[in-house]
């Protein structure tokens, strides 16, 4: 088994009142074990749809039309719903852009992370609490006992994103899919979250599929990256290759904008 995740010829259509939008066209990519892969592109390029398609989390008008999705050698497209559910959130987990709107506002932080711990690891109440507090400590929350009892709206965006990461990592996933996890955050907080993600990855050992529109993040973290444009992957390479010798016209356009106003 060479790749942890191997996607080939993925196509996703979105049916908007009878007119079909080909949101993702013939997309193929791989993520290796312990590898950090970045998919970069502008809004509407199909990055998020691609990320959601991996575990068939697509919103209802969107549908996978064709393609193969292999995870640990298992064909995710031909699994029973129950088996896919067991993989989704356990072996493959997600972190999204706005933690505030993905966390449940009526549950405390402890209860939400606890749900993942009890569901996937089958722990009972008391050990689950200890496990959750350990996770909160892992994501560098300084007083986990206090945060355990808080509701998401009582925490800042950066804190919520740490909570979200704790929840995603609770099940010890092999693959973490992070979809613009720092886009809603201030730059100083963004730097902290990215550093934390790097540390956790080294510590726990998971593969990271990172979706972003921000090329400076891509440059910072990517071992390999893909550029998406209008539903297709137009370029693939190491960060050095993409930033050094961009091949596709759109990549060059992105980099020109990045050179002007994307970096200091």
């Amino acid at each position: 088994m060479k790749h942890l995740l191997a996607i080939s010829n993925l196509a996703v259509d979105i049916d908007i009142k009878g007119s079909i939008l080909h949101a993702v066209k013939n997309v193929s990519f791989t993520v290796g074990i312990n590898e950090t892969v970045v998919i970069a592109g502008e809004s509407g390029s199909g990055k998020t749809i691609t990320a959601l398609a991996v575990t068939d989390l697509l919103p209802s008008p969107a549908r996978i039309i064709s393609g193969d999705i292999f995870f640990k050698g298992e064909d995710l497209r031909n699994l029973s719903a129950a088996r896919l559910r067991a993989i989704r959130g356990k072996d493959i987990s997600y972190v999204f852009q706005e933690p505030g709107s993905y966390l449940n506002p009526v549950l405390t932080v402890g209860a939400q992370i606890g749900e993942s711990v009890t569901y996937h690891q089958g722990l009972s109440r008391v050990p689950a609490r200890a496990a959750v507090i350990e996770l909160l400590r892992r994501v560098k929350i300084s007083d986990p006992q206090v945060v355990y009892a808080k509701y998401p709206f009582q925490l800042s965006g950066g804190m919520n994103q740490r909570v979200f990461m704790a929840m995603a990592l609770a099940s010890r996933p092999a693959l973490l899919i992070a979809d613009e996890p720092t886009t809603a955050l201030d730059v100083t907080i963004e730097a902290e979250i990215l550093a934390l993600l790097g540390e956790l990855k080294a510590e726990l050992g998971f593969s990271l599929l990172f979706i972003t529109h921000n090329l400076s993040i891509a440059k910072r973290i990517a071992q390999r990256m893909y550029i998406m444009y209008q539903g297709r992957i137009v370029e693939e390479g190491s960060a050095d290759q993409i930033f050094g010798v961009p091949q596709h016209a759109h990549t060059r356009e992105l980099l020109a904008a990045y050179d002007r106003i994307g970096k200091l």
């Binding site: 502008e42 965006g157 730059v187 100083t188 400076s216 356009e253 904008a257 106003i261």
Partner: protein
């Protein structure tokens, strides 16, 4: 001096509940003073919650300051509502979805009695051309445009009655980088041709570096550092500015 901001504060009380006295207060903007020269660009940077937008709204007299004053040169700014305009951050929330672009652009013309009917329509066409949009836009609704196009419409609306001062509150932040680069170019060009004064609010230091002559750095409602753009980007003195720069350069 075109604008003088003198010891400006906005203090919000924190209510404990109905009919109870406020238990504390938050100074969203705290004793801020600065000046803006004619035809200059002042950049205001700071993270979320630093009071940038509250300051912008007070400059426009959209909210009342708790204390202090904003004074525009009365010889230059003769009709405040016409001469001072704003472009907001979110182009999805600042255009009326039920109005056609033609109506949106001609409304300020009619209110300020600048043009009516055919003349107004002609002016709207010119405005669209100015911001690089096709005149077929006139009969369409905001929902039919992308974020970048909507922000161009917001800009056209702000330019409709020939303002002298433009407050731009994170005008590029919700847009793709390539769109940001084109709009930034457009803003620079419009400023030169129309002799505008910009107050440009952003959390993106690279954009500020590109457009601003002088810079204010805000944190928790206060100005923690000020200086010319060259100065701030070369030798930031305040630790907070240094942290911001380090994060942006990483």
């Amino acid at each position: 001096m075109l604008i003088r901001v003198d010891n400006l504060s906005k203090i919000y009380p924190i209510e404990r509940g109905w009919f109870r006295p406020a238990c504390a207060a938050i100074a969203a903007v705290d004793s801020v003073s600065f000046e803006v020269e004619k035809e200059a660009t002042l950049g205001i940077v700071g993270e979320s919650g630093s009071g940038k937008t509250t300051l912008a709204k007070m400059l426009l007299n959209l909210i009342m300051p708790t204390q202090g004053a904003v004074i525009f040169d009365p010889a230059y700014v003769t009709n405040f509502r016409k001469d001072v305009q704003i472009v907001f951050q979110n182009p999805y929330a600042s255009l009326n979805p039920k109005m056609r672009i033609g109506q949106i652009l001609s409304e300020p013309l009619i209110i300020h009695k600048i043009a009516v009917k055919d003349e107004a329509e002609q002016r709207c066409r010119e405005l669209l051309q100015l911001v690089g949009l096709d005149e077929t836009a006139l009969s369409r609704y905001p929902g039919q445009f992308s974020g970048g196009q909507r922000q161009r419409i917001c800009l056209a609306r702000a330019l409709a009655c020939g303002p002298k001062v433009l407050v731009l509150d994170e005008p590029l932040s919700s847009l793709d980088l390539t769109v940001q680069a084109t709009l930034l170019e457009l803003l620079l060009q419009l400023k030169l041709t129309m002799g505008l004064t910009y107050i440009f609010i952003s959390h993106n230091l690279a954009v500020i570096k590109h457009i601003a002559d002088s810079v204010l750095v805000m944190r928790e409602g206060k100005i923690v550092e000020r200086g010319s753009a060259d100065q701030i980007f070369a030798v930031a003195r305040h630790p907070y500015t240094q942290r911001l720069l380090a994060a942006a350069r990483a």
